[in-house]
Symmetry: C2
């Protein structure tokens, strides 16, 4: 919520909130709708009112744009998740609820980022893809830690699968026609996620 919350990245220009951020936002929207490979540089430019090549005043390449986008998402998730768990005290169920609330909020606020996050990862360079996966893995492990506490008899692998399944559930937000009020959707997703995460280990 603080003004420093926005500049997650390794880029020192906190004093350029405007054009660069504008481009990233517009690109995220377009990438989510049609896939990064189907969106031209000209399209992104047009979405912010400039021509295609103008993009290169702000980003080294189209790939660099995507890379920064995905890295930011992964960093925000990891940081937010870690923070929420720490703030939730020692009760595993409270920690789980905090994680779920966080992920639900993020997914409802940024459906486009959710979509791009797991659709366009393969198009990244090997180095960038590796870094994004590293961050994702660490975020997953935060969940696995909490889930392991809740399911002491279950193996780590089962908890990891559970975590991915809950992600899939919550990250279904891009598929929802948002005709019902946000609060209702949030409540529904949170309830379903908690039920899924705490369901008994055997069918």
């Amino acid at each position: 919520m603080t003004s420093t919350g926005t500049d997650t990245a390794l880029h020192a220009d906190a004093a350029r909130p405007s054009r660069r951020e504008q481009i990233l936002r517009a690109a995220a929207q377009l990438f989510a709708e049609r896939g990064s490979r189907s969106v031209g540089v000209d399209d992104v430019g047009a979405a912010v009112g400039v021509t295609g090549p103008a993009i290169y005043r702000h980003f080294a390449s189209k790939d660099a744009m995507l890379a920064e986008m995905l890295l930011r998402i992964s960093e925000r998730l990891l940081a937010g998740g870690t923070e929420r768990v720490a703030a939730a005290g020692a009760d595993p169920l409270a920690q789980l609820r905090a994680l779920i609330a966080f992920q639900v909020d993020f997914a409802l606020d940024n459906p486009a980022l959710i979509t791009v996050h797991d659709r366009d990862l393969p198009t990244l360079s090997d180095a960038d893809a590796h870094e994004v996966r590293r961050l994702q893995r660490r975020y997953v492990e935060v969940w696995v830690g909490v889930l392991t506490a809740l399911h002491p008899t279950a193996g780590v692998e089962a908890c990891r699968a559970r975590a991915h399944a809950v992600f899939g559930l919550v990250n279904s937000t891009p598929h929802l026609d948002s005709r019902l009020p946000r609060a209702r959707t949030a409540g529904l997703l949170a309830a379903m996620a908690e039920a899924a995460a705490t369901s008994s280990s055997q069918a």
Copy 2:
């Protein structure tokens, strides 16, 4: 399970199981790994041991390949779902379990198809995309019908959201490192999906 189960489609050549199917299978795998736009015709050809242009002896275009792939998936899901519900009798909970078992089996057997199914829909032609969405919608409505019976007080919109969330949960299979035995994963996903689908309506 029967031999007729494979030819879901409107194509009369049931007598050509080999090369054409081979290409579709290989393409699905490649598309899932790297996205259809990032996969060249030459790549698909190489995957089945021929050169790129040879593809055009079997498909009118690369887009037609993708279209047929997505249409088949949607048709299989709709047909299978409808059939399972009909076979499950009148009990809504039994119907739900049948649907979940079906979706879990499909998602575990065809993770690549699951990935392509919701990632490459935007790259289809408008006409094909429309048809695929129409089939998807009908499949969703099968679920919505069952869920509405289970949650009589909840609105249709809420049930639709619930359906999408369950899809997201079950369709997380592409993200699972399959280190644990398939039966365990299937049981886990089914249990989570049922818990999520039947969770109380309010948080």
